[in-house]
């Protein structure tokens, strides 16, 4: 039994650490600023961090295969700019949204093909993707374009009350948690998900086991593209605007969240649940700084930076221990 406990701790240690840090950070915030005890503050983490959660989920998939996707922020910007321009031109939102989703998938698919078939380093391929997407967003419009569509407005402004609690979220807020459930299902309950883990551990082995490596890798980048497009739609609804400068640096926030969530950049190790808590930690720090009101918002980045470093340290410790046992 003790043996089992040890294996359990070695396996889920990083995840448990992340959860504990989130709880501690939130409690610390509540102790410093009593207003944070209001349940609405907790749901604000999802309202404000929804887009980050979405791209981080996609990023988790990519990182689990041992890759990286730097294009996510660019795809968000491109999606918002394209949506705003199309809506301004009078295109129906029911056409715009599916179109954006398809755009994201095709964008990711292309990157996946470049990575897999042309054997371009994921870092380079998706960096080019980032430049391309952000560039295209500026080609569409050099300035921020306001969205005046009534459907978008109603989505942005209709609160959904949370039962039994004096709190609310908006419809777009639900997209992140829904995709989270989809992602958990995919990683744990499908061959696609298990193949992702196998590839991340040893791509050559996965190939020799007869697993569909090419298809899985390309699908993973497509999935990340889909998540980015959804994040872009959520972003454009909450700001009711589209602009090439939106979501600058999001790719790095997402990577930091994924790493804080216990996913190894080497691939093959990590969970989507961990990523959720990585995002929540990020958003909690943002909240604390907002409640403080006097500190520069750049403290968020400093805090996330330090935490990420600590998490990577903890991860290697667990890794070393696991190797020894």
């Amino acid at each position: 039994m003790a043996e089992r406990t040890k294996f359990f701790l070695l396996r889920y240690g990083p995840l448990l650490t992340t959860m504990t840090v989130f709880v501690l950070a939130y409690l610390a915030g509540g102790w410093l600023y009593p207003a944070m005890k209001n349940p609405q503050v907790f749901f604000n983490l999802f309202i404000n961090g929804g887009y980050l959660l979405l791209v981080s989920i996609g990023m988790t998939f990519v990182i689990l295969t041992g890759g990286i996707d730097l294009s996510v922020g660019g795809v968000i910007a491109l999606t918002t700019a394209a949506s705003a321009a199309l809506l301004k031109a009078g295109v129906s939102p029911f056409v715009v949204m599916p179109l954006m989703v398809i755009l994201g998938i095709v964008f990711g698919l292309t990157q996946g093909c470049i990575v897999h078939f042309l054997k371009v380093q994921p870092f380079i391929a998706t960096l080019m993707g980032l430049y391309f997407a952000r560039g295209m967003a500026y080609i569409i419009s050099l300035e921020s374009v306001t969205i005046k569509d009534s459907f978008y407005k109603s989505l942005a402004l209709t609160p959904i009350p949370i039962p039994f609690l004096d709190a609310y979220v908006y419809i777009p807020t639900l997209v992140g948690p829904i995709m989270l459930i989809v992602a958990i299902y995919l990683t744990y309950f499908t061959r696609f998900g298990r193949t992702i883990y196998a590839i991340g551990n040893n791509e050559q082995s996965a190939l020799l086991m007869g697993l569909p490596v090419a298809r899985t890798k390309i699908l993973v980048y497509s999935f990340s593209g889909l998540c980015s497009a959804l994040a872009g739609i959520v972003f454009s609804i909450s700001l009711l605007a589209g602009y090439g400068q939106f979501a600058t640096g999001t790719e790095l926030d997402a990577i930091a969240s994924v790493v804080m969530g216990g996913t190894s950049l080497a691939g093959g190790v990590g969970t989507v649940i961990g990523t959720l808590f990585g995002v929540l930690i990020n958003q909690t720090i943002v909240s604390i700084l907002q409640f403080n009101g006097t500190l520069s918002s750049w403290w968020t980045r400093i805090g996330v930076g330090i935490l990420t470093l600590i998490f990577i340290g903890i991860q290697s410790l667990f890794y070393i221990r696991r190797k020894h046992s």
Binding site: F189, Y197, A198, M209, P212, R322, S325
Partner: protein, 504 residues
């Protein structure tokens, strides 16, 4: 038992890699219900033939027929669909996912697209029970030993019941005797079920125990296919080598010729040389013209002693003198300058730089000795490279070939060449013949003796007692991190084994 119907026939298979003709018009056939041994030295083309059959590599020419139907194997996945299952030498599984997943992934049971974990685990347990292994299949594979991982790999390949052909590529290299017997029981059972089994191994004993027929490859060409019963062992070795055993005899003979010379002056002398926790104080004297064998089990302190002599570690007791001068500073660079060279044990990790050319690999140590800023002209480099390629008989189309494209034996020669280029007085060789074939072994052994005859001194470390005995003038036996005994070259292997085991 074996029916005469071919389930697989490969005809005229040819495959070229940059600068190397890996397979040259090779034919191979496999009958239903037979175990077919595939034999050959390293670089003979066995692995390439298997890679072609399993779709890892595409042949340049040739036809593959399964059950009389011509097929084009596109990928490893496709080969599995065709009923060809493979267990590789290195365990090609994923250590981060569970044992059960490793066995059933790709063929996993699911309900409405949801993986049925319970059913997966049950299936996996059942597959392992067939090999009489009972472990918790929900644990990550990495939690188990290499032997268990190998068995999991076999269980995986057996689990596909449609398998008509099972390829075992050096499956026993990480298994102990009992596990090997267990595997053979399973192989016989599968054979009686009508599977065709291709068995590749370096162990001649095992081939004679299990194989019905043997196909021999040499230098990418087919030698022939034989019935095991009608092929005596010595003849098999001769076919693999393409020459008789006289080369090995020649090695023994040249040792006798050098015998008298080897009583020369003392070159390298260790007095009470030791390092806490690594090696207890050792007395050692190495003479000019001598090959000193270092025998002992893995972890007996052989490699540690070599490390101290070369200055990888600094000793905390005793002294080391070279030609009467006491060595003060222990570092590999200092040793190189003093004319001591060490060929490390693990040639992949510590020796060869695969992405550099043969010439660059040979020049490396020499360049380090000269210092990084003194430039060796291209002409000079070429001259040195050519000299050693010829001297050691490295088989390569040119000195500009990448080192990774060489076969194991030639890589080993390349490391030797690197150190010989520095013109050392003392050459320490740690397992210089491990993992290379019989022919290349004989060549390297002969080379070591020739070097000794030319006035150099060699320390020869090997796990293979037989070769230590064959070429050493004196033998030091290590045990439990200390020197257990020292013998002259005419000691018999029984004595040494007893010493290694601690009975003497």
């Amino acid at each position: 038992m074996a029916e005469n119907r071919n389930i697989l026939s490969m005809t005229g298979i040819t495959k070229t890699f940059p600068g190397v003709l890996a397979l040259d018009d090779v034919d191979f056939s496999l009958r239903k219900g037979e175990v077919h041994g595939l034999m050959g030295e390293n670089g003979a083309g066995k692995s390439t033939l298997i890679k072609v059959l399993t779709g890892v590599e595409q042949p340049d020419a040739g036809i593959i027929e399964l059950d009389g139907r011509s097929v084009h194997v596109r990928s490893p996945q496709h080969s599995q669909e065709l009923g060809i299952s493979t267990v590789y030498q290195e365990v090609n599984l994923c250590t981060n996912i569970s044992v059960a997943e490793n066995i059933v992934l790709g063929h996993e049971p699911h309900r409405f697209g949801v993986l049925a974990w319970k059913k997966m685990n049950a299936l996996a347990s059942q597959a392992l029970k067939r090999l009489e292994i009972d472990i918790d299949v929900a644990q990550p594979l990495g939690n188990y030993s290499l032997a268990i991982q190998q068995m999991v790999a076999i269980a995986r390949s057996l689990e596909f019941t449609s398998a008509k052909i099972l390829i075992l590529d050096e499956p026993t290299s990480s298994l102990d005797v009992n596990e090997t017997n267990l595997l053979f029981d399973v192989v016989r059972k599968l054979k009686s079920e009508g599977l065709g089994i291709i068995f590749i191994t370096h162990f001649l004993d095992q081939i004679y125990r299990i194989a019905d027929r043997i196909t021999v490859l040499r230098n990418g060409k087919l030698v022939d296919t034989y019935d095991t019963a009608s092929l005596p062992r010595v003849e098999l070795i001769a076919k693999m080598l393409g020459r008789s055993m006289t080369d090995l005899d020649a090695v023994s003979k040249s040792k006798v010729e050098h015998e008298q010379k080897a009583s020369g002056e003392c070159l390298l002398e260790a007095k009470g040389l030791g390092l806490k926790g690594s090696l207890e104080p050792v007395e050692l004297a190495l003479r000019v013209n001598e090959v000193l064998g270092l025998a002992g089990l893995l972890g007996s302190g052989r490699t540690e002693l070599a490390g101290l002599l070369f200055g990888v570690d600094t000793p905390d007791s005793g002294s080391l003198t070279l030609s009467g001068k006491t060595i003060q500073r222990f570092s590999p660079l200092e040793s190189l300058k003093n004319g001591i060279a060490l060929c490390p044990e693990d040639r992949k990790a510590e020796g060869i730089v695969g992405e550099l050319t043969i010439r660059e690999n040979i020049i490396l140590a020499l360049q380090a000795r000269y210092g990084w800023f003194k430039f060796l002209s291209a002409e000079k480099q070429n001259e040195i490279a050519q000299k050693y390629i010829q001297l050691l008989g490295i088989v390569t189309p040119s000195s500009e070939q990448l080192a990774k494209n060489l076969s194991g034996g030639n890589q080993q020669k390349l490391i030797l060449a690197r150190w010989l280029a520095t013109n050392p007085q003392v050459l320490i060789l740690d397992e210089p013949t491990r993992g290379i074939d019989v022919g290349a072994k004989a060549e390297i052994q002969k080379l070591v003796l020739d070097l000794a005859a030319q006035g150099k001194s060699c320390v020869f470390i090997s796990s293979e007692l037989e070769e230590v005995l064959r070429i050493s003038h004196r033998i030091v036996v290590m045990r439990d991190h200390k020197k257990a005994a020292e013998y002259s070259g005419d000691v018999n292997d029984q004595t040494i084994m007893q010493t290694m085991a601690g009975n003497l």
